[in-house]
């Protein structure tokens, strides 16, 4: 089965072609059937491949499947080839599995939308690109997927393109991502320049044998790659597009902007762990950016009122955690959190979608409240996801988040831990704030809307339940402390490089007490939210009035968008305006039109030589003869 791994990305693109070309002409049920099954089939294939992979002898792993020679030029070779190793398998499983669930959900959520076939064709295309990204065996093919998911993200954010804000958001996402992609591309160039190959395994093995820790070129490569990751995975300073991306349909936010695409940067860093461990400087940068992003966006999340925006900032913050983990060398923990986050954050988004669906499109939590009894399934699944993201035992998020906190303390720095712990506190707070504002307390729902509030149909609630199960038990694959119980870690280990540093063994009691501490931090956050939004609902008002400046700063997201507009966007606009009207229209166009004019003038005059008289033509021949004769005589 492994040799058929190319089917995994191929099948979704068939769905894209079908729905894109014929979607408008076939009945809706066929669009849904094709749209979902082209994701379900790859998921099954990946499961089969996974099982087969587990039974392979160790020396047969990892497997590379070459489909064809894509580009061959000089000593440059890019194959269309796939790498089946623990990392890509985990990613393929998560991507195809979560995608499948979200596709099902979309059948209900998008049911009445005019662009139904278009939606499914984009979504299928996205899954294709994402699967290429995670299964490629070289940097260039990965970049194809990388760009492909960017394109689909753009198309789906602007899915409702008649809406100005949606098309603006799509543009913003695209432009910001391009900045990151530029870095990524430079990184790939530098890799080829340095290693003469772009195959992952060749690059990593050459790097391991030929380069010292701290090598300058490796540092440059890893930093450039990380620039790409900050764009795709919404890290400082390029995170600004993700909150705006919430303009897209909610299942898109769940799939692309929470569970899969935005984690591509984390995957890429983990994939290149062999390079990153050689570049301590880059690792420090990754950790600092991750930690700063985690705390900054968590703090913005405290004051948002749009239910999806809270989740968006939460996503940015959780991605920061993952990078923090990678930055301290705990790549496995990063991928672990990537997986559990995919489960519970997809669930949170889908749950919020269910709420929005029930509320006839309302997204402002100030107009919600007490929805618990109207939306029981949504509520209970949402609670599980929230407990998971807050890091409460035994939900999935507890295991992965705790591992990151622990690693950032023992392998990183106490400061990392403090920041991560503060962010964890904030996460617990704003998530329960969201729960309380949406599902509890007094109803602030419009009477008109309240009439129509209803639980979503099974096609939407079943995916919620499936994800809730995963969010609850998904963490048990990575049980810490007990020897051999961390199967996730053991499985992934062969694909990940390790930072070279002396092993320090801490007593088990220390690790256990750190776990307790992290749970206490989460409980503190929950308790604070409970006090502010259930017990004394007047408290938030008082707090905001007490610290007006700070609140204003947070509420306006630290004015980062405004800062970028003033320092980057506007100067570029002014500069390009000058280049357009001054340089291009005057100088360049002038030169082009001028020379074209000269040619045209020549053309109309030379054609007059063509008199139509044979004797003139014969004369021309004769002149030619004389010229040739003169040429030979004159030399």
């Amino acid at each position: 089965m492994i040799e058929y791994v190319w089917l995994v990305p191929l099948v979704p693109i068939l769905g894209f072609l079908f729905n894109g070309l014929l979607g408008k002409r076939v009945p809706k049920w066929l669009v849904s059937l094709v749209g979902c099954s082209v994701i379900g089939i790859p998921f099954l294939i990946v499961i089969l491949i996974f099982r087969e992979y587990l039974q392979l002898p160790a020396d047969a792993k990892p497997v590379e499947v070459v489909v064809y020679n894509w580009i061959s030029s000089g000593n440059f070779n890019a194959l269309a080839a796939f790498l089946v190793d623990p990392l890509s398998l985990i990613m393929m499983l998560v991507v195809s599995g979560v995608s499948f669930i979200i596709h099902i959900y979309s059948v209900g959520y998008m049911h009445d939308d005019e662009g139904y076939p278009r939606y499914f064709s984009y979504l299928n295309l996205f899954v294709f690109a994402m699967l290429v990204l995670v299964s490629a065996n070289n940097f260039l093919l990965m970049f194809v997927g990388w760009e492909g998911v960017g394109l689909c993200s753009y198309l789906l954010i602007g899915f409702w393109y008649e809406k100005q804000s949606a098309s603006d958001a799509g543009k913003k996402a695209f432009v910001v991502n391009r900045i990151g992609d530029f870095g990524f591309l430079l990184g790939i160039f530098l890799i080829f320049w340095t290693f003469n190959t772009i195959n992952f395994r060749e690059v990593f093995s050459i790097a391991g044998t030929n380069f010292e820790v701290g090598s300058l070129v490796i540092t440059a490569i890893t930093l450039l790659l990380f620039v790409g990751a900050t764009g795709k995975s919404a890290q400082l300073p390029l995170y600004v597009w993700l909150p705006d991306a919430m303009e897209g349909p909610t299942p898109v936010s769940a799939l692309i902007h929470a569970a899969t695409m935005v984690t591509a940067g984390v995957y890429m860093v983990a994939r290149c762990s062999a390079l990153y461990v050689l570049a301590p400087v880059s690792l420090t940068v990754v950790a600092i950016v991750g930690a700063a992003t985690a705390i900054l966006s968590a703090s913005i999340g405290l004051a948002q009122n749009d239910i999806k925006r809270v989740l968006a900032y939460s996503t940015v913050s959780q991605l920061g955690y993952m990078f923090l983990a990678c930055g301290v060398g705990a790549f496995v923990a990063g991928i672990f959190h990537l997986m559990t986050h995919a489960f519970f954050k997809a669930l949170l988004f889908l749950g919020s979608g269910s709420v929005i669906h029930a509320m006839s499109g309302e997204q402002d939590m100030r107009h919600m409240g007490d929805l618990k009894k109207h939306l029981p399934i949504t509520y209970w699944t949402f609670i599980m996801a929230t407990l998971a993201i807050a890091g409460i035992f035994p939900f999935a998020g507890f295991f992965s988040k705790d591992e990151i906190l622990y690693k950032s303390l023992v392998d990183g720095h106490i400061l990392y831990w403090l920041i991560a712990a503060a962010a964890a506190f904030m996460t617990a707070f704003y998530m329960f704030r969201l729960i309380f504002m949406t599902f509890h307390g007094e109803s602030r729902v419009d009477h008109e809307v309240l009439h129509h509030v209803h639980e979503s149909p099974p096609v939407m609630t079943l995916p919620l339940i499936a994800l809730a199960v995963l969010s609850t038990i998904g963490g048990f694959v990575g049980i810490p402390i007990i020897e051999g119980a961390n199967v996730f870690h053991d499985f992934l280990a062969p694909a990940i490089a390790h930072v070279h540093r002396p092993e320090i063994h801490y007593p088990i009691s220390f690790e256990v007490s750190m776990m307790v501490v992290s749970v206490i931090i989460a409980l503190l956050g929950i308790n604070t939210a409970y006090r502010m939004y259930i017990k004394r609902p007047e408290l938030p008002q008082i707090v905001t009035e007490k610290i007006p400046l700070l609140y204003d700063l947070i509420y306006h997201k630290y004015y980062v968008d405004e800062l970028y507009a003033a320092t980057v966007v506007n100067p570029i606009k002014v500069g390009s305006d000058f280049l357009w009207k001054g340089v291009d229209e005057q100088v360049v166009d002038g030169a082009v039109n001028g020379s074209a004019g000269v040619i045209e003038w020549l053309s109309y005059h030379i054609r007059k030589l063509e008199t139509g008289y044979v004797q003139n033509y014969a004369l021309a021949i004769l002149i030619g003869v004389f010229i040739i004769a003169g040429y030979y005589l004159g030399r």
Binding site: A596, V614, N616, A618, I621, I628, Y632
Partner: protein, 485 residues
């Protein structure tokens, strides 16, 4: 006295024999078949061409000479055989409907095409200057008649007469040049000429003048400046299918002879002719492209375009290296496909007869006939040299050859010329897609024959543009005879 009869192998000229038999057979049948029952003649001719092509492929990799050194039997000749057969075959495909529209009993048309093809083959294979001249005349006389095919049409008459007078004029120079070469070396065999030049008659003025006059004679046929002036008038006046045939067939044949003579006989004295051809190439490219801009008649525009392409081919000749020779062959194949394809569309768009041959008749074609317009766009892109078409690869090889040989400026001028050419080629595309039709010109009638010609040329242009490798190898295989490069 003993007369030695040279041993000859008839299979070495198999393709020529087949065509000769077929041509005579057609003439005979023409006389015996009642009117209105000759519709299968073109298909018969096509079968003959296919047989000749198969024979050619079976001859592939033979080498040497035959018929007392009169004929070269080598891949270079075979490569050109195939180009000629392709050009003739495509011409037949695009002619059928066009001729039927004129309601003319024109069965001799196909015979003449086949005879012209024989002439072209002799020019590519000739090992003796007189044989090359004979081939040229066989070709030319057939073309004179074909150009004047529409006896009632003044323009067609004018075209034929102009071509005849000027052709005779230039042939005189060609013959005069050959005579001078004989005077200088005492032989007309290409082998002997090459030997003599190696032996050191290189700077003999007689030889140089002879060479110069050869350039005049062949320059006329390939329409190089300043011997090009007949081209627009003749191309415009001749029946469109004949114009298509002339623009690729005659040009390819004259270049075949030119290349063989210059690369086989004169490489030793390259310094004596390269700057002269350099000047001709620059003048030809530039004049062709510049004046094409001012044309509104598409046949005249393509006439100037063909002048410009002769200029690009001269660049490959100037380069005089192996890549130059390869690029030459590649370019001729590409040019045959894209130019014949363009002419096929011209015939289609002209509706009945030559009613609509103004470039503004192409307005709105993209909406009325998307497939037709798409094909025309492919040809225009290819002629302009835009990837991924054969035209791009051809120009790339030609200019690379020039750069490799050190003619950087020639390559730069060539590229700038391509830039100019983009204007008038893309103008057609722009008209087709961005202007509404000015008037209803009536329906375009597609027949299977002409549709298949369009399909073959368009697919070919793209295929050898995307995968130039096999054709490159074939061309490389064909130019190994030029050891002096």
């Amino acid at each position: 006295m003993t007369i030695s009869i040279p041993s000859i192998t008839l299979s070495n000229i198999g393709p020529l024999l087949t065509l000769t038999v077929a041509g005579l057979l057609l003439l005979l049948m023409d006389a015996l078949t009642p009117k209105g029952k000759k519709g299968y003649f073109p298909y018969l001719s096509l079968i003959a061409l296919v047989i000749a092509a198969v024979q050619t492929t079976m001859l592939w990799n033979r080498s040497g000479t035959d018929f007392a050194r009169m004929i070269y039997v080598d891949n270079f000749a075979f490569f050109f055989y195939l180009i000629f057969l392709l050009a003739t075959g495509l011409t037949i495909l695009i002619s059928i409907k066009y001729l039927e529209d004129y309601h003319r009993n024109l069965e001799e048309y196909y015979t003449l095409l086949i005879f012209a093809t024989i002439g072209m083959m002799l020019m590519a294979a000739g090992g003796h200057l007189i044989l090359i001249f004979l081939g040229l005349e066989i070709l030319s006389i057939a073309i004179y008649i074909l150009a004047g095919l529409f006896r009632e049409d003044v323009k067609s008459n004018e075209a034929a007469l102009k071509y005849l007078i000027l052709g005779a004029f230039s042939s005189a120079f060609l013959l005069f040049g050959m005579a001078m070469l004989y005077g200088a070396t005492g032989s007309l065999f290409l082998d002997d000429l090459a030997q003599a030049i190696k032996a050191g008659v290189g700077t003999n003025p007689l030889l140089l003048f002879g060479m110069g006059l050869l350039i005049v004679g062949f320059g006329f046929k390939v329409s190089s400046v300043p011997f090009h002036m007949w081209t627009p008038d003749v191309y415009e006046g001749a029946p469109t299918s004949v114009t298509a045939f002339m623009s690729v067939g005659t040009k390819a044949a004259a270049f075949a002879a030119l290349v063989r003579i210059f690369f086989l006989v004169f490489p030793e004295i390259k310094m004596e002719w390269n700057m002269l051809l350099w000047g001709l190439a620059v003048a030809t490219m530039t004049l062709g492209n510049v004046v094409a801009i001012a044309q509104t008649n598409i046949k005249r525009m393509l006439a100037y375009s063909s002048i410009a392409h002769a200029g690009y081919l001269l660049v490959a000749l100037v380069a005089a290296n192996q890549l130059g020779a390869i690029s030459f062959l590649y370019y001729l194949v590409a040019y045959t496909l894209m130019n014949l394809g363009a002419f096929a569309i011209v015939i289609l768009v002209a509706r009945k007869k030559d009613d609509y041959i103004n470039i503004y008749d192409y307005c709105g074609l993209g909406f009325q006939y998307p497939a037709l317009a798409a094909a025309m766009s492919v040809f225009m892109f290819a002629l302009a040299g835009i990837p991924p078409t054969a035209g791009f690869v051809g120009k790339f090889y030609v200019f690379s050859a020039a750069v490799e040989a050190g003619y950087i400026w020639l390559a730069i001028i060539g590229v700038m010329n391509s830039l100019i050419s983009v204007f008038y080629y893309l103008r057609i595309t722009v008209l087709m897609y961005m202007r509404p039709a000015e008037a209803d010109l009536g329906p375009v009638t597609m027949t299977p024959a002409i549709s298949s010609a369009v399909l073959v040329t368009a697919a070919g242009v793209l295929a050898i543009g995307v995968f130039p490798g096999p054709l490159y190898e074939l061309a490389l295989n064909s130019v190994k005879i030029f050891v002096g490069l």
